[in-house]
Structure formats: C-alpha cells, structure tokens
Amino acid sequence: MALLDIQHLTQFFGGLRAVSDFNIQLEHGEIVGLIGPNGAGKTTVFNVITGVYAPTKGTIVFDGQSIVGRKTYQITQAGIARTFQNIRLFSQSSVIDNIKIAYHFRMSYGNTDAFLHTRKYWQGEQQVDDYAIDLLRLFHLEGHADDISGSLPYGAQRRLEIARALATKPKLLILDEPAAGMNPAEADELMEMIHWLRDKFDLTILLIEHQMRVVMGVCERIKVMDFGETICEGVPEYIRNDPRVCEAYLGKGA
C-alpha cells in the first residue's frame, strides 16, 4: 500500500484553478520530484498535503488514514514534515531550541510541570537536550547549538530547517526547493544529503526543485506540472527527453 495516496486533487482559489485532477502515489522509501514552471501549482499541492488549505475536491490518504480536513499540526504529528521555500526558522530562538520546539508534541511533561519545574521537567529537559544535540551533530551544527538561529549562514539555516523537520520523526519528508540559493558545490552536498537522509531516517521524500541538475540527480521518479495540470511523469531520463516538458519550460518551437 502506498504511504501517500492522492486522488483527483483539485484546488480552486476563487475562480482560479490552481491544481486540477492531481494524482500521486508515493511508495515507502521513494524519492519523488515535483517540477514545473513558476505558478504551476507545486507549492499549492504541498500546502494542501500539509493542511494549510483544505482541498476543493479529492482524497489524500496518508499511512492508511484520510488526512483531508485535518489541521497542519495534526498532519505533522501523523508523520508528514516539511521545509519551506523561503526558510522559516524560529529566528529569535537558539539553534538547539529550534530542534526542541519540534520535539514539543512528544514531550513527556505538561503545563503544570512547566510552571513548577518538577522532577519530571528536569528529566524531560535533559532528555530533549541529549536528543537535540545528537541530531545537530548529524548535521554538523552542534558547534552552533546556542547561537541565535537567525545569525547562521544560509547553508547552515537550510540544514537546520531539515534537521528541525526530522525532529518531528516523520515518515514522509517534503522539501520545498531545498537547493534554492545554493551554488553547484552546495547543491552537490545537498543531493548527497537527501540520499543519506532517506537511508538513515527510513524516509520517503517528496521535493519541489527548480535546479534540474538536482532533480535529475536525486529523484527516482518525477512529476511535471504546468498550469495546475500534470503534463508528464516518469523516470528522469524519460522526462529529460519529453517534448511537452521542454515546451512548458522553454516555450513552443524551442
């Protein structure tokens, strides 16, 4: 059974049809890319999956359960984590607190322990501190643990955002333009990291990306969208040679 199964997803914004009859099935452990020109509806698909918008039509089944109509935080708790096109860290909080915040919904103590700093509080804090520092270490961020996250260099902020998403212990990770603003060397590192993430954390990954080198290099399957419609899908070699894709990106006659 597919981990994520989207059928006939359609999304209207007023009279604008942002996404029309979108279907996708993600199998456990796959890395799938979603590409298309600006305004094709890719981010809208992400926002519908994560509950930012309720879909106008269609079904979304994740891990055997329908997630249509659930709130964003419930969808995250069910096992879908995401990163954002323009990085959204908790910029006034420290690097390690960014990770700890993502651990909050699994935290072992409640409001009363928080007010009174009970034994349970101290145990919970120690536990989350160990967990967070171990996770930061995997992303080579442990040296910055107590720095304000907004002061990190760009590449480190991207890594932290992914680390934060992983701290929610997701089954499905969705990345919205993870290579945006990266130079080729950084993008290469990112590609390596995406494969490593999948194996290390036993993830399924869905990503939007504009840098073709990254998409072709990392995805096992690609779906191409234009004006809300799916125009093509398949393995990278097939996509690369498809005339409809060239037309969507470069225009007719190119």
């Binding site: 995250t76 959204r88 989350v128």
Partner: protein
C-alpha cells in the same frame, strides 16, 4: 549541575530577603514613610501586571491592549468577597488572610475565565483582531462596572480591608514572576516563542498554536486578576475609572520601554516608571515634559526596550555542561 541550580536559587532567595529587610528597616527607622512603602508595593503589583502582559505581547507575539480589564475583574471579585460578602477585616488576621488569599485566587480564576471568553474566539485568527477585541473587552468591563449598582457603580467600592502590605507583595510578586519565568523556560515556553517567530512553521512542527496562544492568554489574565485583588486591598478603594484603557496603556508603556522580549525588561520598566514621577517631584510641571521625552528617546535609541533580549542572571536557568565531542 544540581548543585549550581540549588546554589543559584539559594543566592536569589537570600538577595530577596535582604532587599525586603532593607525596606523594612528603612521603614521602621522612619527614613521611608508609609507613602514610599505604598509606592514600593505598587511597583511589585505593576511588575506582575507587566510580566504577565509580556507573556502575551512579548513572548507569544500577540497584541493584547486591554490588560487593565482583567485587573478590574480580579480587583472587584476579591474586594466583593472580602468586603461585601464575608466582611473580614485585618483585626482578625487568622480568618482574614486565608479569606484574602482565597479571594485573590477567585479573582484570578474569574479573570482567567473572562480571558478565555475574549481570547478563544479572537486568537484563532491571525493579525490584529486580538488588539481590537481586548480593547473592546476592557471598555466593556469598565462600562459594566459603571452600570452595576451592586458593586457601587461609578461611585466605586470602598471600605476594603488593607490586607496588602510589604510582606504580601513580596511573596506575591516573587511567586508570580517565578512561575511565569519557569513556564517561559520550558517546552511550552519555547513553543510560545515559536508562535511569535513564525506561526506557520510552529504549526508545521506539530504545535497546536491556537491552544498554546489561548493558554498563555488565559494564565496572563489570571495573574492580572490576582494583581487586581492585591491592588484593591492596598488602596482600600476601587472605582471603574481605575481600570480604563489608559491604565492598560500604562502597562504597554512599561513593557515596551523595559523590553518586551525579556522578563528582566518587564521588571525594569515598571520599576523605573512607577518611581520616576516621584523622583522628579522637585521638577514640578517639567515632569510632564521629561516623562514623554524619556519614552521617545528610549524608543529611538533602544527600539527593543532598555533590556533588549538580555536577562538578569537570576532569571536565567543555569545550563548543564554538554560533553564535548571532537569531530
């Protein structure tokens, strides 16, 4: 680590006891008269008001501008209980003080209830709705008190026993600020700041942001309500005009000048602005020129408030040493 923590706690407690002893000695030797002691007590009340407002405005990033409304709910509730319904007095402290403490809690809880009614619908929405709703709630509470003859209407409520003294306010302010500070340095406290920094990212990391915002708003209203009760039993007289929007505005000024994103700032602000008008008494009407001038200058040169993001060391929680791992 545990040693360091206990050590810090003990040092802080000793410091507060000493501070209390200094005020008490100065009072007993006649250097500080009753008026100045009352001023110090007001500082304590204003600190709790400002710190609790800072929980909502500074740390959760919402904009509540009707904090005095919740103070009014607490003040009237506790004053009605001690004065009108149970007729307790300071003459019999063994009965009086327990009733007083319970009346404070009752005032706090009722203020929290009103806070829930105000906050639950408006905190679901993003944007400036909360400001409009809290402002209206403040005015509404003011109007209801004015129109209710049972609580004295515009004449107010007098003859309240003077339960609030230096000891009461010390315990009250220290316990309240300690509880809120504890909450801030905890997992739900981090979630508050996450909501402030990016609500959508907080939601995508699994935080029920609406629930978190409402909870903070409700306990903030609780502390404002208790402060109101302490306030009523200090002045022994309350009337609706003590709790208008202007009063709320004062707390906003204390908060933003002190530093909204720091508990220490929410302590420094009310200390300065409660004492300053008194210290400048010799300047007579020039006070009213200097006071706003100080506000303007702080806002120009220290936009984040006097304390900015800094905290006094007694506010912070000693961090444990993490074991170093060489890469």
């Amino acid at each position: 680590m545990t040693f360091l923590r206990t050590h810090r706690t003990i040092t802080t407690i000793i410091a507060f006891v000493l501070l209390y002893a200094v005020f008490k000695v100065l009072y007993l030797t006649g250097i500080l008269n009753t008026y100045y002691i009352q001023l110090i007590i007001l500082v304590g009340i204003n600190i709790v008001m400002t710190v609790s407002l800072g929980m909502v405005n500074g740390f959760t990033g919402q904009f509540s501008i009707g904090h005095a409304g919740f103070m009014a709910v607490g003040a009237y509730t506790s004053a009605m209980i001690t004065t009108t319904w149970l007729h307790v007095s300071t003459a019999n402290p063994w009965v009086g003080y327990p009733v007083f403490v319970l009346s404070l809690l009752a005032g706090g809880l009722l203020a929290a209830g009103v806070g829930y009614l105000v906050g639950a619908p408006s905190l679901r929405l993003k944007g400036d709705y909360l400001a409009i709703v809290t402002l209206s709630a403040n005015e509404l509470i003011h109007a209801i008190l004015n129109a209710t003859e049972a609580v004295g209407g515009p004449r107010g409520l007098g003859g309240i026993p003077k339960f609030t003294n230096l000891e009461v306010v010390f315990v009250f302010a220290i316990v309240s600020v300690a509880l809120m500070r504890n909450y801030l340095f905890s997992s739900p406290g981090r979630s508050m700041k996450a909501v402030r920094d990016s609500e959508i990212a907080a939601e995508s990391t699994g935080i029920n942001t609406t629930k978190q915002k409402v909870f903070v708003f409700v306990f903030s209203a609780f502390f404002a309500g208790v402060s109101g009760g302490v306030f009523a039993h200090l002045l022994q007289f309350i009337d609706p005009s003590s709790f208008t929007f202007v009063k709320s505005l004062e707390y906003l000024i204390y908060l933003y000048v002190g530093g909204a994103m720091s508990i220490s700032g929410a302590i420094v602000g009310p200390v300065i602005f409660t004492l300053l008008p008194e210290l400048m008494r010799s300047l007579q009407s020039w006070r009213m020129v200097i006071y706003p001038l100080i506000l303007i200058l702080t806002m120009i040169f220290r936009t984040e408030g006097i304390m900015g993001l800094k905290e006094f060391s007694f506010i912070l929680i000693p961090q444990r040493q993490r074991k170093e791992v060489s890469a």
